[in-house]
C-alpha cells in the first residue's frame, strides 16, 4: 500500500517521517511496525527493524565518495555475507529495476537529479525491505520525471508487497499513486482519506492546499 503524507511546507511532514524511521525521538505516542513496538527501543534492537526499512531521502543522500555501484552495494556489504559477484548481480538487478544501466562507475556528482533519486531507490530496495520511506521524491524534478519516479515507486511497492510512506506536496503524486492520504497541518493530523475523497472534501485547510494553484481550481470547476 502506498501511503502519502501531504501538507504545506513547514507543517511537519519531514519531522514525522524522521520520527517514523527513528532519526528523531517522539515526545508522545508510539510507533509500531506490524505490532512491533519501535518507540523507546534500544539502538541495537532497532537495528533488526531498520534492516527491513529502505529510505529515499529528498536529495538522494548518496555517498559522494562512492560510485553508483558502491552506493547500491553498501547495505549488502554491511549486512550480508554475499560474495562480490552475488552483490554485483543484486546491484545490477536493482539498477535495472529503476531503469538505470551502464551507470555503475559514475559518481553522484555526475548524475542528474532524476538519476540520483533512482539510484537512491535502488539502494533502498537492495535489501528487499518491507517498508519503504520516501521524503519528497519529486522535489526538484520536472513533471515528466516526477511521474516516472511516482510510477516506479508505485510499481515497486506492488511488486515487493511493501508498505510505502511518501512525503510530498505534489498533487500529481496524490492523484496518481495515493492509496491512503494523510493531511498534516501545523504539526497535527488534519485529515485522512483516499485519492477520491480528497477532491470532494469540505475540510477548509485541505481545500486551500489542494486547490492552491490556478490550474487545480480550474480543474475543479
Amino acid at each position: 500500500m502506498t501511503n502519502l503524507i501531504i501538507g504545506p511546507s513547514g507543517s511537519g511532514k519531514t519531522v514525522l517521517m524522521k520520527c517514523l524511521v527513528g532519526l528523531l525521538e517522539v515526545d508522545s505516542g508510539q510507533i509500531l511496525y506490524d505490532d512491533r513496538q519501535f518507540t523507546g527501543m534500544a539502538f541495537k534492537d532497532r537495528k533488526i527493524i531498520r534492516q527491513e526499512i529502505g529510505m529515499m531521502f529528498q536529495g538522494g543522500a548518496l555517498f559522494d565518495s562512492m560510485d553508483v555501484e558502491e552506493n547500491v552495494m553498501f547495505p549488502l556489504t554491511m549486512f550480508t555475507n554475499r560474495s562480490m559477484e552475488e552483490k554485483r548481480d543484486r546491484v545490477n538487478f536493482c539498477l535495472k529495476r529503476v531503469n538505470l544501466e551502464n551507470v555503475n562507475k559514475l559518481f553522484p556528482a555526475e548524475l542528474s537529479g532524476g538519476m540520483k533519486k533512482r539510484v537512491a531507490i535502488a539502494r533502498a530496495i537492495s535489501m528487499n525491505p518491507s517498508y519503504l520511506f520516501c521524503d519528497e521524491p519529486n522535489s526538484g524534478l520536472d513533471p515528466k520525471t516526477s511521474i516516472l519516479i511516482d510510477n516506479l515507486i508505485s510499481e515497486i511497492t506492488q511488486e515487493y508487497q511493501m508498505t510505502t510512506v511518501i512525503n510530498t506536496h505534489d498533487m500529481n503524486s496524490v492523484i496518481e499513486i495515493g492509496d491512503k492520504i494523510a493531511f498534516i497541518y501545523s504539526g497535527k493530523l488534519w485529515w485522512v482519506g483516499d485519492k477520491h475523497e480528497i477532491l470532494d472534501t469540505n475540510n477548509q485547510e485541505l481545500n486551500n492546499f489542494v486547490y492552491a494553484t490556478e490550474l487545480t481550481r480550474r480543474l475543479k470547476k
Partner: protein, 246 residues
C-alpha cells in the same frame, strides 16, 4: 561556562558511541587503509617541505646565536636535533596537521551531515559516529607518529644542508652535535605527544563535523572551529604532557 560544559558533555557522549565495536571487521580495516592514505600519505609532501626548511632555519639561527669561542661548534647540531625531536616535529607538525587534516575531517563529515548522508547511514541501523569517526582516529594514531619520525629525520637533514651549503658550521661538527648524547626517551616522549595530538585532531574535528547543522556556511564554521579548538588543545596538552613526562 554552561556552553563549554555542554560541548564537553556532547563530545564525551559522542566518543562513547565512536568507541563501540565496528559493524564489519573487513569494512573497518578497508576504511582505516583509506584514511591512512587520505590523512597521512597525502600530508607527506607538506610535512617534508616544512621539516627540511625548519631544520635548516633552526641550524642557521643557532649558528647565528652561538658565535662565542667558548661554545663548541657541535652545539649547532645538538641544538637542532633537540629542538626538532622535543618540540618541532611533534608540536609544530601536529599544528599544521590540525589545519590540513582537521579541516578535511570536519568538512567531510559536516557535508555528509547537511546532505543527509549520515541520516542515511543511521536509517540502515549503522552506528554512524563509529562508522565515520573511528577509522579516522585509528588511522591518525597509526600514521601521525610515522609522519613525525619522518619529520625528525628530514628536519635534522635540513640542518645538515644548512651546515654544508651555507657554512653555518662544518659538516663534521654538525654530525658530532646530532650524535652527541642521544637519549632514546626523548623520541619516545615525542611519539607519546604525537599520539595524544592525533587523538585530539581526529576526534575534535570529527565532533565538530558530526554536529554541523544547516548548510555550506555552517560546514565552513564547523571546519574553522575544529582547527581552532584542535590547535588550542594541542598547545594545552603539550604543556601538560611535557610537565608530566620531562
Amino acid at each position: 561556562m554552561k556552553k563549554a560544559l555542554t560541548t564537553i558533555g556532547k563530545y564525551v557522549m559522542l566518543m562513547k558511541k565512536v568507541l563501540e565495536k565496528p559493524e564489519r571487521g573487513p569494512v573497518f580495516r578497508n576504511q582505516i587503509m583509506t584514511e591512512i592514505d587520505n590523512l597521512g600519505i597525502d600530508s607527506l609532501g607538506i610535512v617534508a617541505i616544512i621539516s627540511v626548511f625548519m631544520g635548516a632555519v633552526v641550524a642557521i639561527q643557532t649558528g647565528y646565536n652561538t658565535t662565542s669561542a667558548w661554545i663548541p661548534e657541535y652545539t649547532v647540531g645538538f641544538t637542532t636535533r633537540e629542538s626538532i625531536i622535543l618540540e618541532f616535529s611533534n608540536t609544530i607538525i601536529c599544528l599544521i596537521l590540525a589545519g590540513k587534516v582537521g579541516s578535511r575531517i570536519a568538512s567531510e563529515i559536516g557535508t555528509m551531515r547537511v546532505t543527509e548522508q549520515i541520516d542515511a547511514i543511521e536509517v540502515m541501523g549503522i552506528n554512524s559516529a563509529n562508522f565515520l569517526i573511528l577509522p579516522k582516529i585509528v588511522a591518525g594514531v597509526l600514521i601521525f607518529p610515522v609522519l613525525v619520525v619522518i619529520s625528525m629525520f628530514l628536519g635534522i637533514l635540513g640542518g645538515w644542508f644548512a651546515a654544508a651549503w651555507m657554512n653555518v658550521v662544518t659538516v663534521s661538527a654538525y654530525y658530532d652535535g646530532i650524535t652527541l648524547d642521544l637519549i632514546p626517551f626523548e623520541i619516545f616522549y615525542s611519539i607519546v605527544k604525537t599520539i595524544a595530538f592525533s587523538l585530539i585532531i581526529t576526534s575534535v574535528s570529527g565532533f565538530y563535523g558530526f554536529y554541523a547543522y544547516g548548510g555550506a556556511l555552517e560546514v565552513g564554521r564547523a571546519s574553522t572551529k575544529a582547527v581552532v579548538m584542535s590547535s588550542i588543545l594541542i598547545i594545552l596538552f603539550n604543556l601538560v604532557i611535557t610537565q608530566l613526562m620531562l
